[in-house]
């Protein structure tokens, strides 16, 4: 006997298929959160020299030359480097520029005292999944993520970032 096949069933099953698909997408796109292990930078195929971070707090700044807020954040990051580099903070700026020349052009106009690498193959970005641009991640000396800052670069940004640096530096082991 031929079964009665209503439109309602089509809609139900189609809806279920869409729901499953969206659920899978959401699962695949989970972001890194504080407490997670930060990926091993040596394995991330980054272009540039990775600084020595042993026994230090690492501040990873995801930026790109096309991102205006990232560029506005750069002077603040520079100030933090000058203030906290000798207190155990290592800053690594990870450029997500597709075009290396655009990154180099920006850095030639705005030289920075901290290390800059380019994530040309998006390996680190895909592993970490920064929620926005710019995103700053603080990594404890044990390699776990202390905090993540991904906010508008407005008047309170500098204070927020400074507080995060100071909190992250508290995770350093006491000096002998």
């Amino acid at each position: 006997m031929r079964r009665n096949f209503s439109m309602q069933k089509y809609v139900k099953r189609g809806g279920l298929a869409i729901a499953v698909l969206f659920a899978l997408t959401a699962f695949a796109a989970s972001e890194t959160k504080p407490g997670d292990k930060f990926p091993n930078l040596a394995k991330m195929e980054l272009e540039g020299t990775i600084p020595d971070t042993k026994g230090k707090v690492l501040m990873v700044d995801f930026w790109a030359s096309w991102c205006d807020p990232c560029k506005r954040a750069f002077p603040i990051v520079k100030e933090l480097h000058e203030k906290y580099a000798d207190k155990g903070l290592v800053i690594l700026a990870v450029s997500l520029d597709e075009n290396r020349k655009e990154m180099q052009r920006f850095l030639a106009d705005h030289p920075v005292p901290f290390a800059v690498v380019r994530d040309a193959r998006e390996t680190l970005a895909r592993a970490v999944r920064p929620p926005g641009m710019p995103t700053t991640i603080f990594v404890r000396p044990d390699g776990t993520i202390h905090s993540i800052v991904s906010e508008a670069v407005d008047s309170g940004f500098k204070e927020k970032l400074t507080k995060m640096v100071e909190d992250a530096l508290k995770t350093l082991p006491p000096k002998q």
Partner: protein, 76 residues
């Protein structure tokens, strides 16, 4: 020609949906360099924008409310 059974049709429809929607992708924040380009801005030509604004104001007696600031990078 052999017809699909209702169950088969249902599966076909479901697969069709999956195939269609899997074409959608979420552009990640770090992949928005092209969207952030100046050429992506609706108001990239100041003179053209001013002319459009003037026409709009003259015809509708209203002004402003055009688009949003910044490019399309969706940065923080």
């Amino acid at each position: 020609m052999k017809r699909f059974t209702p169950k088969g049709r249902s599966w076909l429809l479901g697969l069709g949906f999956v195939a269609l929607f899997s074409g959608c992708t979420h552009v990640q924040p770090w992949q928005r360099g092209t969207l952030a380009d100046r050429t992506m801005r609706a108001d990239r030509d100041p003179l053209g924008t001013a002319a459009s604004e003037h026409i709009w104001f003259s015809r509708e007696a209203v002004t402003g409310g055009r688009g949003v600031g910044g490019g399309g990078c969706g940065c923080n």
